[in-house]
Amino acid sequence: MSQPPPKSSFAAGLITALPIALGYFPIAFSFGVAATRAGLGVIEAFGLSLIIYAGAAQFLALALITGGAPVLVSAFTLVAMNVRHVLYGPALIKRAGADARTRHAWAWAFGLTDEVFGAALGALARGKVRFSEPFMFGLTIGAYASWLSGTALGAFAGGGALEGWPAVDAALGFMLPALFLALLLSILSRAQLPVIAIAGGTTVAVTLAWSGTAGILAGMVAGAVSGVLGLGREKSGRGKHAG
């Protein structure tokens, strides 16, 4: 019987974070550019990344801020969007094993984004690493540093940085829908298709009939209610989690 590998180090976490960091940097850069284009200052753009640290929610925050949505409505929308993160901790700890220490989880769990969760779970599942809190710190700090530096550079470059590069500007403009679609694919399961269809259909209908903000709220509520009513139930077990 083979011995389990020794608990992975902070450096192993940093190495595991490398692909995430490479992907995060351009997305964060586009957020910084979009934020300054939306009228936010460099400190405000950086502050959103520093405090919220949730890419899709940050992009949506820009739309809500520039759309003049009330703070509490915006907060509710963004918080509702991030509720999915409650599923990540239990899934990760279950994979880590019963003896996993979580004494400092209050710190490293701040960085438990979709991609960090996916990378940690994948590395643990492949047996390449063994859960440890230093490993989680390396993983989360590597990704967080990339997100913050990308945001800062994008915000310093400013909203007009890409005026001479329309194709790059267009590509960065599609970054948000692409991120949402990829996240959607990562949590997709057959049982959730009715929830997704109802949420998407309601969003289109209410947006066309009323407004974009109302469409977002109505879509989320309709999708969640349809799940409570049992339209998104698995026949056995849960759907897979985000990566």
């Binding site: 992907g23 997305i27 936010l40 899709a56 999915r84 590509a171 829908p177 679609l181 990829a182 949420a199």
Partner: protein, 108 residues
């Protein structure tokens, strides 16, 4: 930093941290698998992300050229299907979208 932006960031940041941290300590097996809370948790994430994808892509259907959107979506789906990487699929979709825009400008 404007007070309303700081307030928004602190509320969302605190809740997001709570969503990420507290479940690492909680025994979610106590939640009934078929209970209302369990169903709500299971449905909220997909509902939110589906809503936001539609809301962010919808304005792009309003313009004349839809080819970049189609190619961008196809690239996201294809790369995700191959790599199972959210980051990789996002970057591929964005690159495909920009490439089609660039080709359209160069040839048109």
């Amino acid at each position: 930093m404007r007070a309303e932006i700081l307030t928004l960031a602190l509320i969302v940041g605190a809740c997001t941290w709570a969503f990420r941290y507290f479940p690492t300590k909680a025994n979610l097996s106590a939640i009934a698998p078929d209970g209302l809370l369990s169903r709500f948790l299971a449905a909220t994430g997909p509902a939110a992300i589906a809503t936001l994808f539609v809301a962010s892509a919808l304005p792009m259907l309003g313009g004349g050229a839809k080819l970049p959107l189609v190619c961008g979506v196809a690239a996201v789906v294809a790369v995700y299907a191959i790599t199972r990487s959210v980051v990789g699929a996002t970057l591929a979709g964005s690159a495909a979208y920009g490439l089609v825009v660039w080709l359209a400008a160069a040839t048109g």
